[in-house]
Symmetry: C2
Subunit: 86 residues, 2 copies
């Protein structure tokens, strides 16, 4: 059996709008100490990159979607999107 093709993806997980983001607030509060002005709306999330072997890109994306919704994000508080890489 020949090996299935490999696809690389990124899953970007961000806090839903309206959900408190203490890490984002912490970044905003540290900006004056760095002498940086004009920055707002900081939201801190996660980025997970991974490789999936599957029969085709649609099947691979299906695996990534399942992983993103069941393991990598909390659907109550976070949104995710899947990005195909390289």
């Amino acid at each position: 059996m020949s090996e299935q093709p490999a696809y690389r993806f990124a899953v970007n997980v961000t806090p839903k709008p309206g959900i408190l983001d203490p890490q984002g607030r912490a970044v905003e509060k540290s900006l004056p100490h760095l002498g940086i002005a004009g920055v707002s709306g900081v939201r801190v999330g996660r980025r997970v990159e991974l490789t999936v072997r599957a029969v085709d890109v649609a099947a691979a994306r299906g695996v990534v979607d399942r992983l993103a919704s069941e393991l990598l994000s909390n659907p109550l508080m976070e949104l995710y999107d899947v990005e195909a890489l390289g």
Copy 2:
């Protein structure tokens, strides 16, 4: 004085190749429990989205680069890239 235009960016921070990534290993180890096969090379990083007001997009990107290298990433262990959004 009129307000400067606003630009939205994402900063993607990922562990450098060769640097241990315990979160990525944890994800890989939990895959069999979910009945998911064919996934490898999991790397867990951060994604920070932010808005910058500046005279033009080049100046805004300069602010983001400084923020990314001085506050959002650890240059010894992590790589970052800046992505223009919307």
